[in-house]
């Protein structure tokens, strides 16, 4: 496999002329914008990786006159903090991305759903929003953005739970289909995009899809903002070109004693040292919304797993049985194995349960609990049992 190595880039936080980019976008037709974004190969930066251009295409063909652009700023995945930094430093690029999206799908309204934990940013964000509204008014473009705040629920990062929350309901995910592009917030056609995705769109319109395409690999185009934490001498936020191996990442960020990297947060995958070389960070290997946690050999992977399971048991919305009961039973199960109350083969039963949750759970929360569970249990069995 062709490997591009680890390259730092500076596009997300780079200063741009908002007016210039928007002037260009407004002159483009909806189809032209969608074509550019499709050409760029951009996949959603929140973690799920759905092609952004395709999402916009689906939303653009809906006949309903009221459509919405929702910016998902409910960044709750453990180990992810890049969206906060993006909003803090370049919120005007997020708003700009929303305006471009609105032009693409034909929406007049935008909503930013900001997690309650980031409420302290709101006064500054509102001020910047005011100046953004002035800019688009000067350009004669009709579009308005408003804020909705979360109140401490991880599940509201799931798109349909987020819509429910905006509508004043419990944040319980909906059945799909219908998908948000036909029935989203207020049951109107909606494109919901991650903070970083929207900023990336600004970049694509500014530089053109072809320039953007030169970054990254065939399956993972462009660059990505990573949130690096755990056992590292340099925790923080780094924008890197996609396509590096975990080994290259660890060479740069590890403390020399890294035994595992958790990629994609609690709902992501654990990569042990012996697989660092062969694992690519990106859609051809292990995808991530940006969360990169390094663990050195002083850490107990039992504690890591227990912490994640405790997190999921608390954050499961409780609506569907596989997830509500499954998260609790996995947590109890690892405790029993650790205490020696059950045989270690019980772990195999639990892997089966995690697999069932993947198939039977209603939303991404329950479906992804098994990712961390399976990869930690399989690679660090001794640490879970003894």
């Amino acid at each position: 496999m062709k490997n591009k190595g680890l390259t730092k880039v500076d596009l997300i936080f780079e200063k741009v002329d908002l007016k210039e980019v928007l002037t260009k976008a407004i002159k483009m037709s909806s189809d032209e914008i969608i074509q550019q974004v499709l050409l760029s190969g951009l996949k959603g930066r929140g973690g799920a990786g759905f092609p952004t251009g395709l999402k916009w295409k689906y939303a653009s063909v809906e006949k309903e006159p009221d459509k919405y652009i929702v910016c998902n700023a409910d960044e709750g995945e453990p180990g992810t903090f890049k969206d906060r930094e993006i909003l803090d430093r370049v919120s005007y690029k997020v708003y700009g991305g929303m305006a471009i999206a609105s032009k693409a799908i034909g929406a007049k309204y935008g909503i930013v759903y900001l997690r309650g934990e980031y409420r302290f940013l709101l006064p500054q964000l509102m001020k910047e929003l005011e100046s953004f509204h002035k800019t688009i008014d000067e350009l004669g473009y009709n579009f308005r953005i408003r804020y909705c705040l979360g109140s401490g629920a991880y599940i509201c990062g799931e798109e349909s739970a987020l819509f429910e929350s905006i509508q004043g309901e419990r944040g319980e995910p909906r059945n799909k289909p219908p998908y948000p592009t036909s029935s989203g917030v207020f049951f109107k056609p909606t494109s919901i995009n991650n903070v970083e995705t929207l900023v990336t769109v600004m970049m694509i319109i500014q530089h053109g899809a072809e320039t953007y395409n030169q970054l990254g690999t065939k399956d993972s185009r462009g660059s990505k903002v990573f949130s690096v934490s755990g056992d590292t001498p340099t925790p923080g936020i780094f924008e890197l070109e996609l396509g590096m191996s975990v080994q290259q990442f660890v060479n740069e960020f590890g403390d020399g004693d890294t035994k595992a990297v958790q990629i994609g947060g609690a709902s992501g995958f654990c990569v042990p040292r012996k697989k660092f070389n062969e694992t690519v960070i990106g859609f051809e290997g292990v995808p991530t919304g940006g969360s990169m946690k390094l663990f050195n050999s002083s850490r107990s992977m039992y504690n890591v797993l227990h912490n994640y399971l405790d997190f999921f048991a608390e954050e499961s919305c409780g609506q569907c049985t596989p997830c509500r009961i499954g998260t609790q039973q996995l947590l109890k199960g690892v405790q029993k194995v650790k205490k020696g109350e059950v045989k270690s083969t019980y772990l195999n039963e639990m892997v089966k349960l995690a697999d069932t949750m993947k198939i039977a759970s209603k939303c991404g929360l329950g479906q992804s609990v098994g990712n961390a569970f399976r990869t930690i249990v399989e690679n660090f069995k001794e640490e879970i049992i003894y």
Binding site: E75, G76, E77, P78, G79, T80, F81, R84, R115, G116, E117, Y118, R119, F120, C148, L149, G150, S151, G152, A153, Y154, S165, I166, Q167, G168, E169, R170, G171, E172, F186, S227, V228, S229, G230, D231, P235, G236, I237, A266, K293, R299, N303, V304, N307, Y308, F311, E314, E315, C317
Partner: protein, 154 residues
């Protein structure tokens, strides 16, 4: 217990009386009074012409919309993995010793509540807490004592 006065009415006027305004109204009450009483939830229900069960249903879903008594300053300490690895327990111990309360409790003068919470997005500067909406990061025991002293003098 507190008297909300005309706060619910004011919030309903500001945000509108539709069901879609429920979150900002509840958030507005919590911002002022730190938690939701049964009485205030019934009042919200009347104001929006929805059932009190609907209001309670929404409120009880969200960890930041507390339905039990909380202090004026709610200290939320992150317990997720990185904060946990970087000494969250020492910070809890320090706060517990200082305020003479355990996690989940509120001081008798109703000034502070201490609660554990899930990832608040400061893993690169762990351990971290929120006091109401303000984050404090890269904490040490000495640092957290100074921060809480500051709130005591407010």
């Amino acid at each position: 217990m507190y008297q909300a006065g005309n706060l619910v009415k004011k919030l309903a006027e500001k945000h509108g009386r539709s069901r879609h305004s429920l979150m900002p109204i509840l958030q507005g009450i919590v911002e002022k009074h730190n938690y939701l009483t049964d009485e205030v939830m019934v009042e919200v229900a009347k104001e929006l012409e929805i059932s009190a069960a609907d209001v309670y249903g929404t409120a009880s879903f969200y960890t930041f919309l507390d339905t039990q008594v909380r202090g004026k300053y709610i200290i939320r300490i992150c317990k997720t993995i990185t904060c946990s690895m970087k000494g969250k327990n020492d910070i809890i111990q320090t706060i517990e010793d200082m305020l003479k309360i355990k996690v989940g409790e509120t001081t008798s003068d109703k000034l502070f509540s201490l609660i554990e919470t899930n990832c608040i997005g400061w893993c690169h500067k762990a351990p971290a807490i929120l006091i109401n909406e303000v984050p404090y990061t890269e904490l040490t025991s000495e640092k957290v004592v100074e921060i809480i002293k500051g709130y005591m003098q407010k």
